[in-house]
Amino acid sequence: MTRIVGFISGSLFGAGLLLSGMLDPTKVIGFLDLGGLWDPSLAFVMGGGVIVNAIGHSFLHRRSKPLIAKAFMLPEKKDLDLPLCIGAAIFGIGWGIAGLCPGPAVASLLLNHFYSMQFVLFLLAGLQLGNMIKKFK
């Protein structure tokens, strides 16, 4: 069942990315480009997503466990640390160069074949290195 939920969630995620225009790197850069013509769309995507998720979460708080799985698996760290800040900074630089991040890159694999595949391959390589660094930090 968790697999079915996973598939449905992924499908909704992909559909949402497509509909919102987030599969278009130029549109994402348009949001990040404060100096030129500004496209606020990404803020609307985030806003819509966060609000819906937050409202739903307020109902989930009353539960001690999820509807199918045995327990909520939430991130354990609560405090700010250096890896969080440095990692976010590096991520932002890459994102600002390409206008793509993991979700849209994966979601556009069948629509953009080689371009998305190239991104995903190097993304995975970066993930591997990052995960190895985290283990030794």
Binding site: S9, S41, F44, G87, I93, K134
Partner: protein, 148 residues
């Protein structure tokens, strides 16, 4: 500040965002998991992951890949998809995205959609930082001509 009225899509982006929020909510409500794409990918490619850990994630990624294709194929929706960089620049950017998201424990879906909805202090800081560096990067590459 001039708004790009030709490309700004308030309603489509809002509805798309709602779908993304629902996707995240579903995953948390039923599977108890944060919808963080980088974390999902990391776990899939971690040799130590068990079948149980890997299978729902593979199902997620499969849905994320297939649904956009299905929608385009069968509804005639023609999304604009205009790449910004190519070749070596693309490779470097992708590598930085992967590196940063692993070290920073999340990306726009994990910290942005999920972390902010949980009022996570860590995610708020992460989002502020990556938005800032992304905007600075765009500014530098666009207006100072570096890397373009």
């Amino acid at each position: 500040m001039n708004i790009d009225m030709e490309h700004f899509t308030p309603w489509l982006s809002l509805y798309g965002g709602v779908l993304i929020g629902l996707a995240a909510l579903l995953l948390m409500a039923f599977n108890g998991r944060v919808m963080g794409v980088s974390g999902i990918l990391s776990a899939i490619f971690d040799w130590r992951s068990t079948w149980n850990e890997r299978s729902w994630r593979v199902a997620f990624i499969t849905g994320a890949i297939i649904m956009p294709w299905l929608l385009v194929r069968f509804t005639g929706f023609e999304p604009l998809m205009r790449p910004v960089v190519n070749g070596v620049t693309l490779a470097i950017a992708a590598f930085l995205v992967g590196l940063g998201t692993a070290i920073g424990s999340g990306c726009t879906s994990g910290h942005g959609i999920c972390g902010l909805a949980r009022f996570s202090k860590r995610s708020l800081v992460a989002v502020l930082i990556f938005m800032a560096t992304a905007m600075m990067t765009v500014f530098i590459t666009r207006y100072l001509g570096i890397g373009r």
